[in-house]
């Protein structure tokens, strides 16, 4: 049996914080920390010409974060996916404590933290091999609805909306709004919806 196929427990981090963390059933048991999109932040970073180092990329991402959200980047952990063939990169940020203190706490309880990811990133990575180059990938969860727009394999926009159960607008309206903001037509994108509220989107 391969260790790679070992199942990992999931610790959900909701808007109100992480669920209670149990002690690991055995030392070194795998744990994935899954942060709700309600607390995660996303944006699209255009590839700057002549980017020479990670420090510069970090500064640029932090600067954009502060400009878009108005928060202090020092309180957040920011990660960029620097895809080599893309002109636009998806960036994700989660509160610093979930990327540093929480894994430390989990390790102290005997867990081996394998992944710390936001819900959208995790769902996208699970489904990406089946997605077209022109896709509106949506995670319709109980806490929020996240819609990402991909055109010709490149990220064009991403937004987090209220959950469909609490939204006055339906999924189609939300998608139209996001497409309009990204200067896209909904006709070119194939919507793919996952999550517990996907039935409401359909």
């Amino acid at each position: 049996m391969s260790l790679r196929k070992t199942e990992a427990a999931i610790l959900h981090v909701t808007r109100s914080g992480p669920r209670p963390l149990q002690k690991a059933p055995r030392h070194g048991a795998l744990l994935d920390i899954l942060v709700t999109d309600r607390v995660a932040r996303y944006w699209i970073l255009e590839r700057p010409p002549g980017l020479a180092g990670t420090a510069e990329l970090d500064l640029l991402a932090a600067e954009r974060f502060a400009a878009i959200y108005g928060d202090d980047p020092a309180d957040w952990t920011i990660r960029v996916d620097p895809a080599p063939w893309s002109e636009r990169w998806l960036v994700c940020a989660i509160p610093l404590r979930y990327a540093t203190e929480l894994p430390r706490t989990a390790a102290a309880e005997g867990w081996r933290v394998r992944q710390v990811q936001s819900r959208y990133i995790r769902e996208f990575n699970r489904c990406c091999r089946h997605l077209d180059a022109n896709t509106a990938f949506c995670v319709a969860a109980r806490e929020c609805t996240t819609i990402g727009l991909i055109v010709q394999g490149q990220w064009r926009g991403i937004r987090v909306h209220p959950p469909l159960t609490h939204s006055s607008a339906g999924f189609d309206t939300l998608l139209q709004r996001d497409c309009r903001q990204a200067d896209l037509s909904t006709a070119v994108l194939r919507p793919v919806v996952v999550g517990s509220l996907r039935a409401m989107a359909n």
Partner: protein, 169 residues
Amino acid sequence: MLKPLAIDFAPTRRSVRPAGWLASGAGAVLLAVAGFAWLPPAHVEASHMTEASQRQRVLPDGDSAQAVDMAVRELNLPWLAVLDALNSEFGPGADAVLLQVDTDVRRAIVRLEGAANDAAVVQSYPARLRALGPIAEATLVGQEVRGDAQSHHSRPVRFVIELRMREGT
């Protein structure tokens, strides 16, 4: 079909390839053998104990202590983890190949010279490398396009990247 996003906030590297396990195992065996080699035989140890009361204990001088500190620091650098990271990023099927690897141990720097198909691939490497646990910083020091359309270089973009290893991990 789209590629997965390389976004993970986990503080350490997720997986170690089989080659990494082998290298780690070999390193552990080497350390164990070296450790036994350093252990003095029992009679030598006993003679040291009897002589200990007769001679004054000699402490290393400043230079020696500094040399020991430096040696310990070098041993503590994450060599195997860096090798594993390079193997995963520049192994078979990668977008670029390594031509030369140099190290500056005092500065905890690894200097990579390589070749790639495309400048965009090269520019993405610093961020990709820095995302790996044992690497604290990665900087693209330079890149140039070799040859012209007639030369048919398979990997025309040469590059130099400097990595600073994460210390104390």
